[in-house]
Subunit: 343 residues, 2 copies
DNA sequence: CTGAAAGCGCTTACAG
DNA sequence: CTGAAAGCGCTTACAG
């Protein structure tokens, strides 16, 4: 271990500036932080020298005294890795890009088997945004006792959260399918264990109900949390007595798999079966046909998550708020009028 | 500003443990860090109490004295946002997942207009991995003076780097196309300004040369760095006198756009034109037809990047190493034997 | 084997 | 308006 290597180049400190300007370190601190009244001459002089010397505060020292780390944590469950195909990556990026201008850095952490969050225990962060429903209530509650948190795409009584109008988005998507003339509308999801997916299912049910269409159990299928979930679910649908003329799928990735499976069965989308997804992921514009889906404003959600966290860091007594973001149906090529054949 | 809120619940410190055990704080420190010889009774007692109290060291204080932050930075140029469709996201995730078991956290930062890296100036990180060729040589060099760094998918004399065998991968892809009987093989890229893409182009050229095929300028097109790059490039190719029977595209995303454009022109892939991509992104298994491409082991690259950085943090005098990862051709459905019509 | 002291780089009452 | 002192929570020679 060579410990001295980078120590030769000692970073410049407040003391160096003080010596150079001929003033006390505490004065330098005040000048740089704009605290207390002081002659603008010395203040300017100090600032100028700091600039010249390329001074940056050592955040470890600063944080130790101010009890602020200058970073926030962004935590997701390991299950969402690879993020490449995750719903959450635009949210994470938005958090980073809005945190930076505010002088905050973001520590990106992944959670496995509900371990306690080292970044908060070690005081590396001033707050954390917990993304997804995999975060257990116990973890969230215990965290809340030591640090401000905001939940994204998850909800828990008494804690700040950023949510999506899953119900409304699903309702609208299914209503649209009904308007196109469809009556046999399937619902496919990876799993029902996810709050968001359950909400989307509820929206599906409500739309059917509103338009007087009876719920058909055989038109509902769960594919499981794995690659190929969509085709597994489609197989189940095809085993039923009634074939759907349209399928509402709870997320885009699964919708793409459903489309592939439909094609593999020798049918066409949307001529034989219309498919509508949810999320408006990048892939929605890559599949053939282009996917009709429900847009979720993930960038705005990430921005808002950070803003809210920042507010809570400033004042932890703020009362918990739940912000629900609206969704929007984006009509592309995977949906069309009710299939002729099955009419 | 309510500053006292979370301060009421003071985190437990080394002093608390010391008091409880009836020993000096310095002894607690030694026990917990396993330094110096000491009676195993007191050591055990201390460890047990620390455990009971749920003690975690305050990394701000620890870092201030040890000059180690316990975090590393992962930096990419803002241009690669959204990472969702980026080549780099699996690399970033791999860095995070290998850093965590080593007790390091990762600060994810985005670089805009070559600003200097605040995370290193503020001593928040012990090392940084710089991803992509957008990182300027000046920035890398200046950083290297204060902290260990490793470059990923980029190269610079005298600094550690993790690279991809772009040349070899491209060579193999084009050779494969030649083996299928193709002679009119196009090359499409977003841009030639990127080192990786230039290397892939070089591999393309070398394969043609090796098999005695003359380079045809009209078969080479750049689409520009924007959405739709692939179709723009394809249009250029179609303006030429000779139509390609196969196209080697420098990355998967652009390849997908090329496929779409070919379909839009009323042609089929691979019957009329074979398409081969590079990267083996998730989308390669989503497009129709499934994309033949060159696999890049991004996960392993990320793991290796962190390991190398860790080694450098331990000993900054290690001599710079360049690690080149091999690639592998993955044959799927977008490539086939030479088109009949144009033969 | 263990304690007391000094120090890491900063901030913040407290004097003057 | 500005300096000296104490303290944030830890580690590390230095004594004993």
């Amino acid at each position: 271990m060579i410990d001295w290597y980078y120590d030769l180049i000692m970073a410049i400190t407040i003391k160096d500036i003080a010596k150079r300007v001929g003033v006390a370190p505490s004065t330098v601190s005040r000048a740089l932080n704009g605290r207390g009244r002081m002659s603008s001459v010395t203040r300017e002089k100090i600032r100028q020298v700091a600039q010249e010397l390329g001074y940056y505060p050592n955040m470890l020292a600063k944080g130790l005294t101010t009890r602020k780390a200058g970073s926030v944590g962004v935590v997701i469950d390991r299950r969402h890795i690879p993020v490449e195909r995750s719903f959450y990556s635009p949210i994470i990026e938005a958090i980073e890009s809005t945190a930076t201008p505010h002088g905050y850095h973001v520590i990106f952490a992944t959670l496995k088997n509900h371990s306690s969050l080292k970044i908060v225990k070690e005081r590396k962060v001033d707050g954390v945004v917990l993304i997804g429903t995999d975060i257990s209530d116990e973890l969230a509650s215990s965290l809340l006792e030591e640090i401000p948190i905001v939940l994204v795409d998850n909800h828990l009584q008494g804690v700040d959260s950023i949510a999506v109008d899953n119900f409304g988005g699903a309702y609208r998507a299914v209503e649209y399918l009904i308007e196109l003339g469809h009556r046999k509308i399937g619902f496919v999801t990876e799993t029902m264990r996810d709050l968001s997916f359950r909400e989307r299912f509820a929206g599906y049910q409500e739309a059917l109900k509103k338009y007087g269409i009876k719920l058909d159990e055989q038109l509902i299928a769960e594919g499981g949390r794995r690659r190929g979930s969509g085709s597994i679910a489609l197989e189940k649908l095809f085993e039923g007595k009634t074939l759907p003329t349209a399928i509402f799928v709870a997320n885009d990735y699964t919708a793409v798999e459903v489309i592939w499976a439909i094609k593999a069965a020798g049918l066409n989308v949307p001529e034989d079966i219309s498919v509508v997804g949810f999320d408006d992921n990048d892939i929605a514009r890559i599949v053939d046909p282009l996917l009709t889906t429900v847009h979720v404003p993930r960038k705005r959600m990430g921005e808002e998550a950070f803003r809210r966290l920042l507010a809570l860091i400033g004042d932890p007594t703020l009362s918990p708020t739940k912000i629900v973001f609206p969704t929007e149906l984006v009509i592309r090529d995977s949906s069309g009028y009710k299939a002729r054949s099955t009419s």
